[in-house]
């Protein structure tokens, strides 16, 4: 009975969304109007979206697996048992502490990534000897095999007689992944920032600090927010670089892979669902903040909202 109502509601929602999509994407391409190529690409695009989100939706549904159900369909019945198990673990795999560690680590990475990327951006604006070497170093950090970083850090720590944990080895390993993104974003932001603005502030008698506080930071604030999002999420989700260096204090992704390999139960899906929803909330919140920033800026300057969005 309730299943039937659910299907009807879903069908109505799908219909409305489908109609809206049809109306908003109609008519495009260089063939002019709605040629065959255009429809092929439309189908490919939306098929890709289904491919992209399908598996995670299935994981979401399977999280509600009945108490005796397994890791795949059929759904034996519906229950919240596996969500409860996440919070009161009775079996192998305790996700609670790893989750808290992951959040703490992601927050540290957020702060460090934003600060280091911002100061690096300022340095490049001034110019310094060896600038291109540091740039290549950043690219190397982006492409270096994650396992090697983890492996090298672990052996390095061992050689020094230290035990690596989430706040030491893993923190450093995560920085090598978040910083390239942060620095490259800051480059892009600063390269669009007119030098004349700084000169004007200087001419008006602003000190270096005032120039930074009242001119540069407000202008690049959306960029800083974007860097913060990368710093937080890339760390929060990182597995390969952390794999060997979290020691006895595993982070959430490390715990998930361990449990998946040894004692997978539907509670793994429940964790996956919750962590994905958590990520989506963080992403949505950041985009909302960015949008509000743009709105305020648009109202203040009287400029068009779309200009900067389209350029980005």
């Amino acid at each position: 009975m309730s299943g039937g109502i659910l299907i009807i509601i879903l069908a109505i929602v799908a219909g409305i969304v489908g109609y809206w999509i049809y109306n908003s994407v109609r008519g495009g391409g260089f063939e002019g109007g709605t040629g065959r190529g255009y429809w092929v690409r439309t189908v490919i695009f939306f098929a890709f979206l289904i491919f992209l989100y399908g598996p995670i939706v299935v994981i979401g549904v399977l999280s509600f697996q009945g108490p005796n159900g397994g890791l795949t369909f059929p759904m034996e019945s519906m229950s919240l048992r596996w969500f409860r198990e996440v919070f009161n673990p009775t079996y192998a795999g305790d996700f609670r502490l790893p989750f808290l560690r992951s959040i703490a680590l992601a927050l540290i990475l957020l702060v460090l990534t934003t600060f280091i990327s911002f100061t690096a951006g300022l340095a490049y604006r001034r110019g310094f000897k060896g600038a291109s070497i540091v740039f290549y170093l950043v690219i190397v950090s982006l492409i270096a095999p994650p396992f090697l970083i983890s492996f090298g850090l672990l052996q390095g720590f061992a050689t020094l007689g230290w035990q690596s944990s989430w706040w030491s080895g893993a923190l450093g390993a995560h920085l090598t992944w978040t910083l390239p993104f942060g620095v490259l974003i800051m480059f892009a932001i600063f390269s669009r920032l007119d030098m004349a603005i700084e000169e004007a502030a200087y001419d008006q008698g602003a000190t270096n600090w005032q120039k930074l506080r009242y001119v540069i930071i407000p202008i690049v604030a959306p960029g800083l927010l974007a860097v913060a999002l990368f710093g937080f999420t890339l760390s929060y989700d990182e597995y390969s670089r952390s794999s060997l260096v979290t020691g006895f204090t595993s982070t959430l992704p490390v715990e998930m892979v361990t449990v998946r390999g040894t004692a997978a139960r539907p509670s793994l899906y429940a964790v996956g669902t919750m962590t994905t929803i958590f990520s989506l909330l963080i992403i949505g919140g950041t985009f909302l903040a960015l949008y509000l920033m743009e709105m305020r800026r648009g109202l203040l300057s009287g400029g068009k909202l779309s200009d900067s969005k389209a350029a980005g």
Partner: protein
Amino acid sequence: METLQRYSAYLQISPLVLVLLVFLIGPMVVIVLYSLYRFTGFVTIPGDFTLANWARIFSSGTTWGSLIETIRVTAITWAITLVLGFVLTYYLVFDVKLLRTKILLFLLAVVPFWTSGVVRMIAWVPFLGREGLINRGLMGVGITDAPLEFLLFSEFAVILSYVHVFTLFMVAPLFNVMARIDTRLVEAAKDQGANGWQILWNIIIPLSRPGIAIGTIFIVALTASDFVAVSILSGGRAGTLATATFNQYSAIQHPYAATNGVVLLIVLLLFVGGIMRLVDIRKQL
């Protein structure tokens, strides 16, 4: 004043340089050292330097096999993500006319970037397994009688998840360059009688080259270094260099793992260095 300005630039870049030296160059130096340590087959003797590990991998066929396997898997993934990413981006940039829709669809396509890759790899298991959705569907409709074994724990599953997780690394840089193409160029070409394919081949693709280059760097680096999808979706059975490194590490053959890892690193650096000679990445930022 001038010297103060100069000093402050060094002060401002120092946190980045410090972090990269300690946490990037540091581990790399350790790996290179390990590849030079003597290994008896059971224990590693730190400080006892030898080229034996290197001689071993250059003489044995396994490393070359792993290298070729890495190149093959990476090439397949690259080709699929390039074509798919190009079509998706083309659609977003040229087919979707409303700016609001364009932004919304672009976000929908890239949002998973900020969610967990591990979860998204695990999420394929209930699809592809013996009892998975695809096998049930195929058997339910009557296309197959027995479950298809190749779906899970196979190269197919691994490449599928690469395409799933990595395609947006191609879409984002492509979108960045394609959105900047002056549509008047296309109009002019059309007025001169160019057809759709000619426009694509002579205007869109050449102007998209920097985006293709950056996307290629991402895809190649991510695919060639992956050992996670392999361990989740093919049970660790894959002959790539990254997986070999991981397996040798797990078997406590650290110097062998280090040597393989250095080979992978060198190959990646050469490849990316080559691409960066072709395209000025800093100009694209």
